[in-house]
């Protein structure tokens, strides 16, 4: 009888299956971590844009309190779309993701004046949001600005 060399079909199939399972798992982990890193990168940028916006709002407040309180309103307040650091767009951003490089973020700030005349306290909500794989992620910061600080 001829001596058989090599592997049988079953052996090869089992081996190939195990190997392919291993590779698929490794690839899945790699792509998952890659996606996570992308999200983390965007989170770092978004939190910077949020803080930058808040710092700018605070500087506007330091400049002129009276003018600053005119920007807000009581009740639900007024929402601005802060693409650049200016008050030019007194509406929500909607679907205009125009902030950052690449422009994938939008930054909205909501100013709610607390009841009083003159206004002594303004609640500020700053939020940077962006779309990541179909879901909208957001980094919000709330703060309260007072006339005397």
């Amino acid at each position: 009888m001829k001596i058989k060399l090599g592997f049988s079909l079953i052996e090869v199939l089992v081996f190939v299956t195990i190997l392919s399972l291993f590779f698929v798992a490794a690839m899945a982990i790699a792509t998952y971590s890659l996606r996570n890193m992308k999200i983390n990168q965007h989170k770092i940028l978004a939190s910077h844009y949020t803080e930058e916006g808040l710092e700018w709002v605070r500087s506007e407040k330091e400049d002129d309190w009276g003018q600053f309180t005119d920007r807000g309103a009581t009740g639900t307040g007024i929402t601005y779309c802060l693409i650049g650091l200016n008050w030019s767009t007194a509406t929500e951003c909607g679907t205009n993701f125009e902030l950052g490089i690449p422009p994938i973020f939008k930054r909205e700030v909501n100013l709610i004046n607390q009841v009083g005349n003159p206004v002594t306290q303004v609640n500020v909500t700053m939020a940077v949001s962006w779309i990541e794989g179909g879901t909208t992620l957001s980094i919000p910061i709330n703060t309260t600005l007072k006339v005397l600080e």
């Binding site: 890659l34 990168q41 770092i44 930058e52 710092e55 605070r58 002129d64 650091l85």
Partner: protein, 189 residues
Amino acid sequence: MKKKTGFTLIEMLVVIGVVILVVPSIFVIIFGIMREQTKIYRLSIIKKEGDFILNNISNLIKSRAITIHSANPPTEINQVCAISDDEFTSSNDRIFFTDPENNWFRILWSSNVIASYSSFTASSVNLNSSNAIIENFSIGCERASTYSGPTVSISFEICYKTSLGSCTSTRPEETATMYYQTKIKLRNY
């Protein structure tokens, strides 16, 4: 008949074909991960240093500064933003402050570095590391009225030093730039 050993041509072709398909995709993923890692590392360093500079300067000016001066040593002649409606932007990227103990300190931008100097310790401290470059620095002050303190405004761009020794690079993952700006109102004036 001679006994055949080794692989046939077809077998070799199939194996090489599979390798050609698999290896590039593995490398694409590995390099993608490395690129992202570089970018995240640089962004986090830049954010950390930028936040540190902003906090440090803000706290220093808020708690220590009394008067603002344009030159060294600070005297009444070179005081700025002392009266209402006064505005001043430093032309040589530095501003001087006196503190409650009659010492003075200085915030200065020079050759990509923001440094603070104190006459009390007589030493200059760099606020950013050599990995970071500060660009487009601007410092100034303004005062709305004599009844409220002057505000100091600072803005700068901080970026990670790329292999070219500047903020720009041919590889987008090497660049990380952030813009910072703030206004600080003096508490003691």
